[in-house]
Symmetry: C2
Subunit: 385 residues, 2 copies
């Protein structure tokens, strides 16, 4: 008797209906699953590509609990959800990935850092300070010296919640929140590895990708795959990523962001327990996408092969700096002429300065050629009102 | 002043909510468009991935007309729609692609054949006969000899409406309908070319793909890309496909199916004015998919590059011969282990013998390697009740 695995009554629940939820739902559409999404408005990007969109907050205990009771497997596109509800659902037998226990650590960058230390995973040295005043006191005492980086323990997102303090004049940038304080790393570049693990214990990583930042917005601007790093560094990054997901005892996708120091050492910067902006190139550039891999992992299906099909470069499409209002895409047709360019417009109704409105991935025979075309897209497309 | 091209209020209407409508909607989801679909039940494959699903028949004048009045551009996933309503909509200013005039020819295989003859496009010789009786009379008169192929002029779909009459004993297979009668072609293989054209006059073809049939179901079983044919034949197929779409004065995608005779000559078998089963491999195997290309064409956007990213083989996933009822996928996990395999389950609730329930595309370094893995999928996956 062959085993009946899935049928079209199987319900996958996703907390969050932004672009990550949308791309996860699109990946799931290729399998015969019912996709349910919880977020505050069905007008959000995922609203048009799921079987059911429940309006409610994923930060609210009751909303998450009631939603979770109606699905077979529950996952998420954002880590800032109500973990108390997830713990209760888990207790009552709902399958929840990533695990609420790992989420509680990852939600707090202070606990994250302590976790790396405890598990001997490489990360920059740090201290935890409770307030702006405590930081100023530490400087006054001489135990904290310039330059340093302040990261809010819980409020960080898309470059927010991070202050780089190089000198006394920067102190007005200090954030009033419990924080992780780290020295400024002597950085060669930043790379990321997406790694997945399923309940059967399979672990599979994607090849490392290189990140280039828009300094003004403190957001990733380009991703380059494969990363321009040595084979040794690439292998080491994959090894650390695999150890990290195993240490968290987490199922689903984990995006591990690294600092590569000038001396060649890799340090974990931070992780996200879900598909991540630094893995968008995998949709077209790898045999299996990060979204499909996340679904395979949370459903306890075999993980997919992650080989690169062609070199790729992703560029984030950010709202124009001086526009806030209903979004329009100027220059779109010119971008559509670029060979091998895949445009992903998330469908956010309102554009804001530097808001992530979409991304484009360009496949080409070399990353250099792909980068050139990705730059053309960045230059030609304006998301305006 | 930059031109504002699209925004999230732009409505694309699709007649038909089956798997082709679903994959078209999924392609459109990557752009900021609202997708509206008309078909008889929102339980159909496209029901879960569109912004609005209107329940109604695309064969009904009133349903098509009312639906068409609410969208900005109207297209389709199936040619057997109410063309009278489309003609009226076009008259009233709605943009409709493919054009109703071309559709009326393509809907009738008799008119299709006459069209090829009139435009000097290569096709097998034929005659039109009005009934079973007329066929029997022609045989009796000696003007029609065995073997021959009978194709119903209007009822053909997925191998239905075609009878191969090799000898007198096959005459019980004759279809009672106005028909196209063709000699049996001395066939080397069958190939297909997807070609697209936009209102600005751009024409772009995909590289030829080779089709292998399941004789029992008279359905395509495997697609191999690139086709194993000479460069000359491949170029000739693209040339004929481009002439054909230009002759039809049609915008959107046209799938052109060819017979390749043992003597090397190409004959047009038939065409479909929309994405087609013979182009499914393009989703993962080409820089731009047939679905994205169709959308670009009907929206008058620049057409995408069609280069092959990696050799690919597609296999249709058909309902098991002896099962009718709610669908389950036995052996799915084993298939998910196959590197480079992309499974597409359409989400049809009911399986029937040989019903197209999904497809899988395997990317590999050679078509031979991809074929081997595609065969594994065919052998391991059973769609049963």
């Amino acid at each position: 008797m062959t085993k009946k695995i899935i049928n079209s009554d199987f319900r996958l629940g996703i907390l969050g209906g932004g672009q990550l939820g949308k791309m996860m739902a699109l990946a799931a559409q290729n399998w015969d699953l019912k996709i349910w999404i919880l977020d505050t408005s069905a007008d959000f990007p995922a609203g048009g590509c799921c079987d059911r969109f429940e309006e409610g907050s994923f930060k609210d205990y009751e909303a998450v609990y009631q939603f979770g009771k109606q699905v077979d497997v529950l996952t998420l596109e954002i880590e800032h959800v109500n973990t108390e509800a997830l713990l209760q659902l888990e207790k009552e037998g709902t399958i929840v990935h990533p695990s609420p226990a790992a989420l509680q650590i990852i939600q707090d960058k202070g606990l994250q850092k302590q976790f790396y230390e405890q598990h001997q995973l490489p990360t920059a040295p740090f201290r935890l300070l409770e307030s702006k005043e405590a930081i100023l006191a530490a400087i006054a005492e001489g135990t904290l010296t310039f330059p340093f980086v302040q990261k809010s323990r819980t409020a960080g997102y898309d470059g927010k919640g991070v202050a780089i303090i190089r000198q006394e004049a920067d102190l007005n940038k200090l954030i009033a929140a419990p924080s992780v304080i780290e020295p400024l790393v002597d950085l060669e570049k930043e790379i990321a590895v997406q790694v997945a693990r399923n309940p059967s214990g399979e672990i599979q990583a994607f090849p490392a990708v290189e990140m280039e930042f828009n300094d003004e917005a403190n957001l990733v601007e380009y991703l380059l795959c494969p990363a321009n790093i040595t084979k040794e560094v690439a292998e080491e990054a994959v090894r650390i990523a695999k150890s990290t997901i195993a240490a968290f005892d987490l199922c689903g996708l984990l995006s591990v962001e690294f600092f590569l120091k000038k001396d060649g050492q890799l340090l974990i910067n931070e992780v996200a327990p879900r598909p991540h902006n630094s893995g968008h190139h995998t949709i077209e550039g790898n045999l299996c996408s990060q979204f499909q891999q996340h679904l395979r992992a949370v459903l306890d299906w075999p993980l997919g092969a992650t080989d690169i099909t062609k070199p790729s470069v992703m560029v984030n499409l950010l709202g124009a700096p001086d526009h806030t209002g209903p979004a329009h895409y100027a220059g779109l047709k010119d971008c559509l002429k670029i060979p091998g360019a895949h445009l992903h417009l998330y469908g956010k109704k309102i554009t804001k300065p530097f808001r992530k409105m979409g991304h484009a991935t360009v496949l080409a025979d070399t990353t250099e050629a792909a980068k050139e075309r990705a730059r053309l897209i960045k230059d030609q497309l304006s998301i305006i009102t």
